[in-house]
Subunit: 158 residues, 2 copies
Protein backbone atom coordinates (compact mmCIF):
# COMPACT_ATOMS: atom_id res chain seq x y z
CA UNK A 1 0.00 0.00 0.00
CA UNK A 2 1.46 3.29 -1.07
CA UNK A 3 0.57 6.94 -0.98
CA UNK A 4 1.31 8.88 -4.14
CA UNK A 5 4.65 10.67 -4.35
CA UNK A 6 2.53 13.80 -4.62
CA UNK A 7 1.17 13.32 -1.08
CA UNK A 8 4.58 12.38 0.29
CA UNK A 9 6.18 15.54 -1.15
CA UNK A 10 3.25 17.77 -0.16
CA UNK A 11 3.53 16.74 3.49
CA UNK A 12 7.30 17.29 3.47
CA UNK A 13 6.93 20.72 1.84
CA UNK A 14 4.35 21.77 4.43
CA UNK A 15 6.55 20.54 7.28
CA UNK A 16 9.53 22.50 5.96
CA UNK A 17 7.44 25.63 5.35
CA UNK A 18 6.03 25.38 8.89
CA UNK A 19 9.48 25.00 10.44
CA UNK A 20 11.04 27.87 8.50
CA UNK A 21 8.19 30.40 8.60
CA UNK A 22 8.03 33.27 8.11
CA UNK A 23 11.15 32.89 5.96
CA UNK A 24 10.42 32.37 2.26
CA UNK A 25 11.76 29.03 1.08
CA UNK A 26 12.41 28.13 -2.55
CA UNK A 27 11.77 25.14 -4.75
CA UNK A 28 15.50 24.75 -5.42
CA UNK A 29 16.27 24.73 -1.72
CA UNK A 30 13.51 22.21 -0.98
CA UNK A 31 14.48 19.91 -3.86
CA UNK A 32 18.12 19.95 -2.75
CA UNK A 33 17.29 19.42 0.92
CA UNK A 34 15.10 16.38 0.33
CA UNK A 35 17.00 15.25 -2.80
CA UNK A 36 13.77 14.97 -4.76
CA UNK A 37 12.62 15.93 -8.27
CA UNK A 38 12.42 19.69 -8.80
CA UNK A 39 9.84 19.30 -11.59
CA UNK A 40 7.56 17.18 -9.40
CA UNK A 41 8.01 19.58 -6.52
CA UNK A 42 6.93 22.53 -8.68
CA UNK A 43 3.60 20.83 -9.34
CA UNK A 44 3.14 20.09 -5.64
CA UNK A 45 3.87 23.70 -4.62
CA UNK A 46 1.60 24.99 -7.38
CA UNK A 47 -1.32 22.95 -6.02
CA UNK A 48 -0.61 23.90 -2.40
CA UNK A 49 -0.53 27.60 -3.38
CA UNK A 50 -3.74 27.24 -5.40
CA UNK A 51 -5.46 25.55 -2.47
CA UNK A 52 -4.45 28.31 -0.07
CA UNK A 53 -1.98 26.31 2.04
CA UNK A 54 1.08 28.15 0.76
CA UNK A 55 1.59 31.76 -0.25
CA UNK A 56 3.85 32.15 -3.26
CA UNK A 57 5.91 35.28 -3.91
CA UNK A 58 7.27 35.69 -7.43
CA UNK A 59 10.56 37.24 -8.46
CA UNK A 60 14.26 36.92 -7.74
CA UNK A 61 13.90 37.02 -3.99
CA UNK A 62 10.64 35.13 -4.09
CA UNK A 63 9.66 31.78 -2.69
CA UNK A 64 6.84 30.37 -0.65
CA UNK A 65 5.72 30.22 2.94
CA UNK A 66 2.71 28.93 4.86
CA UNK A 67 -0.49 30.83 4.19
CA UNK A 68 -2.23 29.54 7.34
CA UNK A 69 -1.10 28.67 10.83
CA UNK A 70 -0.03 24.98 11.13
CA UNK A 71 -2.87 24.31 13.57
CA UNK A 72 -5.34 25.48 10.91
CA UNK A 73 -4.09 23.02 8.30
CA UNK A 74 -6.03 19.79 8.74
CA UNK A 75 -4.06 16.80 7.41
CA UNK A 76 -7.16 14.90 6.27
CA UNK A 77 -8.13 17.87 4.11
CA UNK A 78 -4.59 17.95 2.65
CA UNK A 79 -4.75 14.24 1.86
CA UNK A 80 -8.08 14.61 0.07
CA UNK A 81 -6.40 17.13 -2.24
CA UNK A 82 -3.10 15.34 -2.79
CA UNK A 83 -4.64 11.85 -3.22
CA UNK A 84 -7.41 12.78 -5.65
CA UNK A 85 -8.08 9.25 -6.80
CA UNK A 86 -7.34 6.86 -3.91
CA UNK A 87 -7.26 4.14 -6.55
CA UNK A 88 -6.72 1.27 -4.13
CA UNK A 89 -7.62 -1.38 -6.70
CA UNK A 90 -8.58 -1.62 -10.37
CA UNK A 91 -12.31 -1.07 -9.89
CA UNK A 92 -11.65 2.27 -8.13
CA UNK A 93 -10.32 3.63 -11.41
CA UNK A 94 -12.36 5.02 -14.31
CA UNK A 95 -10.46 2.49 -16.49
CA UNK A 96 -11.99 -0.34 -14.49
CA UNK A 97 -12.06 -3.64 -16.34
CA UNK A 98 -12.72 -6.14 -13.56
CA UNK A 99 -15.65 -8.39 -14.40
CA UNK A 100 -16.74 -8.65 -10.79
CA UNK A 101 -17.24 -4.94 -10.37
CA UNK A 102 -20.97 -4.66 -10.74
CA UNK A 103 -21.85 -6.79 -7.75
CA UNK A 104 -18.60 -7.28 -5.84
CA UNK A 105 -18.60 -6.58 -2.10
CA UNK A 106 -14.90 -5.73 -1.88
CA UNK A 107 -15.30 -2.00 -2.78
CA UNK A 108 -17.47 -1.42 0.29
CA UNK A 109 -14.83 -2.99 2.51
CA UNK A 110 -12.03 -1.03 0.83
CA UNK A 111 -13.95 2.21 1.22
CA UNK A 112 -14.51 1.43 4.89
CA UNK A 113 -10.75 0.87 5.31
CA UNK A 114 -9.94 3.99 3.30
CA UNK A 115 -12.21 6.12 5.47
CA UNK A 116 -10.66 4.65 8.63
CA UNK A 117 -7.24 5.65 7.26
CA UNK A 118 -8.26 9.19 6.31
CA UNK A 119 -10.13 9.66 9.62
CA UNK A 120 -6.83 9.36 11.46
CA UNK A 121 -5.53 12.31 9.43
CA UNK A 122 -8.78 14.24 10.00
CA UNK A 123 -7.93 14.25 13.70
CA UNK A 124 -4.56 15.95 13.17
CA UNK A 125 -3.19 19.24 11.89
CA UNK A 126 0.19 20.25 10.54
CA UNK A 127 1.03 21.48 14.06
CA UNK A 128 1.15 17.82 15.15
CA UNK A 129 4.00 17.24 12.69
CA UNK A 130 6.06 20.22 13.87
CA UNK A 131 9.75 19.83 13.06
CA UNK A 132 12.40 21.78 14.93
CA UNK A 133 14.15 23.96 12.29
CA UNK A 134 17.47 22.80 13.71
CA UNK A 135 16.79 19.29 12.44
CA UNK A 136 17.04 20.51 8.88
CA UNK A 137 20.46 22.00 9.49
CA UNK A 138 21.60 18.76 11.14
CA UNK A 139 21.16 16.92 7.84
CA UNK A 140 23.61 14.13 7.28
CA UNK A 141 24.39 13.58 10.94
CA UNK A 142 23.58 9.95 11.51
CA UNK A 143 22.39 7.02 9.48
CA UNK A 144 18.83 7.15 8.18
CA UNK A 145 16.57 4.54 9.68
CA UNK A 146 13.58 2.86 8.11
CA UNK A 147 10.59 4.16 10.06
CA UNK A 148 7.79 1.79 9.18
CA UNK A 149 5.55 0.07 8.43
CA UNK A 150 4.44 -1.20 11.78
CA UNK A 151 1.24 -3.19 11.45
CA UNK A 152 -0.17 -4.83 14.56
CA UNK A 153 -0.28 -8.63 14.46
CA UNK A 154 -3.56 -10.18 13.38
CA UNK A 155 -6.42 -10.09 15.85
CA UNK A 156 -7.54 -13.48 14.57
CA UNK A 157 -5.48 -16.61 14.04
CA UNK A 158 -7.45 -17.60 10.95
CA UNK B 1 -3.22 5.39 -2.32
CA UNK B 2 -2.95 1.98 -3.90
CA UNK B 3 -2.81 -1.62 -2.84
CA UNK B 4 -0.29 -3.77 -4.68
CA UNK B 5 -1.52 -5.69 -7.72
CA UNK B 6 -0.54 -8.75 -5.71
CA UNK B 7 -3.22 -8.01 -3.07
CA UNK B 8 -5.80 -7.12 -5.70
CA UNK B 9 -5.24 -10.41 -7.57
CA UNK B 10 -5.07 -12.48 -4.36
CA UNK B 11 -8.46 -11.25 -3.22
CA UNK B 12 -9.98 -11.93 -6.64
CA UNK B 13 -8.49 -15.43 -6.78
CA UNK B 14 -9.86 -16.25 -3.32
CA UNK B 15 -13.30 -14.91 -4.26
CA UNK B 16 -13.37 -17.05 -7.41
CA UNK B 17 -12.10 -20.15 -5.58
CA UNK B 18 -14.76 -19.64 -2.89
CA UNK B 19 -17.55 -19.29 -5.44
CA UNK B 20 -16.51 -22.32 -7.49
CA UNK B 21 -15.55 -24.74 -4.72
CA UNK B 22 -15.17 -27.64 -4.62
CA UNK B 23 -14.44 -27.48 -8.36
CA UNK B 24 -10.74 -27.14 -9.20
CA UNK B 25 -10.07 -23.93 -11.08
CA UNK B 26 -6.97 -23.24 -13.17
CA UNK B 27 -4.58 -20.36 -13.61
CA UNK B 28 -5.45 -20.12 -17.32
CA UNK B 29 -9.14 -19.93 -16.54
CA UNK B 30 -8.62 -17.29 -13.85
CA UNK B 31 -6.28 -15.18 -16.02
CA UNK B 32 -8.77 -15.28 -18.90
CA UNK B 33 -11.77 -14.53 -16.70
CA UNK B 34 -10.23 -11.45 -15.09
CA UNK B 35 -8.10 -10.56 -18.14
CA UNK B 36 -4.98 -10.29 -15.97
CA UNK B 37 -1.35 -11.40 -16.27
CA UNK B 38 -0.92 -15.19 -16.12
CA UNK B 39 2.67 -14.86 -14.89
CA UNK B 40 1.69 -12.56 -12.06
CA UNK B 41 -1.24 -14.80 -11.18
CA UNK B 42 1.07 -17.83 -10.89
CA UNK B 43 3.07 -16.06 -8.20
CA UNK B 44 -0.10 -15.10 -6.33
CA UNK B 45 -1.47 -18.66 -6.41
CA UNK B 46 1.92 -20.03 -5.36
CA UNK B 47 1.92 -17.83 -2.25
CA UNK B 48 -1.71 -18.60 -1.40
CA UNK B 49 -0.99 -22.35 -1.66
CA UNK B 50 2.17 -22.01 0.44
CA UNK B 51 0.24 -20.09 3.10
CA UNK B 52 -2.47 -22.76 3.27
CA UNK B 53 -5.30 -20.71 1.77
CA UNK B 54 -5.45 -22.72 -1.46
CA UNK B 55 -4.88 -26.41 -2.15
CA UNK B 56 -3.05 -27.06 -5.41
CA UNK B 57 -3.41 -30.27 -7.39
CA UNK B 58 -0.75 -30.92 -10.02
CA UNK B 59 -1.23 -32.64 -13.36
CA UNK B 60 -3.35 -32.36 -16.50
CA UNK B 61 -6.65 -32.25 -14.66
CA UNK B 62 -5.15 -30.27 -11.79
CA UNK B 63 -5.89 -26.82 -10.51
CA UNK B 64 -6.56 -25.19 -7.19
CA UNK B 65 -9.38 -24.81 -4.73
CA UNK B 66 -9.88 -23.31 -1.27
CA UNK B 67 -8.05 -25.14 1.49
CA UNK B 68 -10.17 -23.61 4.27
CA UNK B 69 -13.79 -22.59 4.59
CA UNK B 70 -14.35 -18.92 3.54
CA UNK B 71 -15.42 -18.03 7.08
CA UNK B 72 -12.04 -19.26 8.33
CA UNK B 73 -10.06 -16.98 6.01
CA UNK B 74 -9.53 -13.67 7.79
CA UNK B 75 -9.00 -10.83 5.30
CA UNK B 76 -6.64 -8.90 7.58
CA UNK B 77 -4.38 -11.95 7.75
CA UNK B 78 -4.47 -12.24 3.94
CA UNK B 79 -3.55 -8.56 3.57
CA UNK B 80 -0.58 -8.93 5.92
CA UNK B 81 0.76 -11.63 3.60
CA UNK B 82 -0.01 -9.98 0.26
CA UNK B 83 1.14 -6.48 1.31
CA UNK B 84 4.45 -7.41 2.90
CA UNK B 85 5.88 -3.93 2.84
CA UNK B 86 3.05 -1.41 3.21
CA UNK B 87 5.54 1.16 1.92
CA UNK B 88 3.22 4.13 2.24
CA UNK B 89 6.03 6.67 1.89
CA UNK B 90 9.77 6.75 1.26
CA UNK B 91 10.81 6.36 4.91
CA UNK B 92 8.82 3.10 5.19
CA UNK B 93 11.23 1.53 2.73
CA UNK B 94 14.67 0.05 3.50
CA UNK B 95 15.97 2.40 0.77
CA UNK B 96 14.87 5.38 2.79
CA UNK B 97 16.72 8.58 1.94
CA UNK B 98 14.52 11.25 3.53
CA UNK B 99 16.54 13.57 5.72
CA UNK B 100 13.68 14.06 8.17
CA UNK B 101 13.40 10.39 9.02
CA UNK B 102 15.24 10.23 12.28
CA UNK B 103 12.92 12.56 14.15
CA UNK B 104 9.87 13.02 11.93
CA UNK B 105 6.43 12.50 13.46
CA UNK B 106 4.70 11.54 10.21
CA UNK B 107 5.56 7.79 10.44
CA UNK B 108 3.59 7.44 13.68
CA UNK B 109 0.56 9.03 12.07
CA UNK B 110 0.90 6.89 8.94
CA UNK B 111 1.21 3.74 11.04
CA UNK B 112 -1.90 4.74 12.98
CA UNK B 113 -3.77 5.18 9.67
CA UNK B 114 -2.38 1.93 8.31
CA UNK B 115 -3.53 0.00 11.37
CA UNK B 116 -6.98 1.59 11.14
CA UNK B 117 -7.15 0.40 7.53
CA UNK B 118 -6.00 -3.16 8.28
CA UNK B 119 -8.28 -3.37 11.34
CA UNK B 120 -11.30 -3.09 9.05
CA UNK B 121 -10.07 -6.19 7.20
CA UNK B 122 -9.37 -7.97 10.52
CA UNK B 123 -13.09 -7.79 11.22
CA UNK B 124 -14.03 -9.64 8.02
CA UNK B 125 -13.54 -13.04 6.43
CA UNK B 126 -13.71 -14.24 2.84
CA UNK B 127 -17.31 -15.30 3.56
CA UNK B 128 -18.23 -11.60 3.69
CA UNK B 129 -17.10 -11.25 0.07
CA UNK B 130 -19.12 -14.22 -1.19
CA UNK B 131 -19.83 -13.99 -4.91
CA UNK B 132 -22.70 -15.92 -6.50
CA UNK B 133 -21.08 -18.29 -9.05
CA UNK B 134 -23.66 -17.15 -11.60
CA UNK B 135 -22.08 -13.69 -11.63
CA UNK B 136 -18.98 -15.12 -13.24
CA UNK B 137 -20.99 -16.65 -16.06
CA UNK B 138 -22.82 -13.36 -16.60
CA UNK B 139 -19.56 -11.70 -17.63
CA UNK B 140 -19.93 -9.02 -20.23
CA UNK B 141 -23.54 -8.27 -19.48
CA UNK B 142 -23.60 -4.59 -18.73
CA UNK B 143 -21.13 -1.77 -18.63
CA UNK B 144 -18.54 -1.89 -15.87
CA UNK B 145 -18.93 0.83 -13.33
CA UNK B 146 -16.24 2.53 -11.32
CA UNK B 147 -16.87 1.41 -7.74
CA UNK B 148 -14.82 3.80 -5.66
CA UNK B 149 -13.17 5.54 -4.00
CA UNK B 150 -15.75 7.04 -1.71
CA UNK B 151 -14.10 9.13 0.95
CA UNK B 152 -16.30 10.99 3.40
CA UNK B 153 -16.04 14.77 3.24
CA UNK B 154 -13.68 16.39 5.71
CA UNK B 155 -14.80 16.54 9.32
CA UNK B 156 -13.08 19.88 9.65
CA UNK B 157 -13.31 22.89 7.40
CA UNK B 158 -9.64 23.77 7.93
Amino acid sequence: MRLTTFSDYALRVLMLAAAERPRLITIDETAALYDISRAHLMKVVHVLVKQGYLRGIRGRSGGFTLQKAPEDINLGAVLRITEPDFTLVECFSPENGCILSNRCKLPNLLNEGLNAFVSVFDRHTLADLAVDPNWFSAVGSGRLRQRGPSVATAQSST
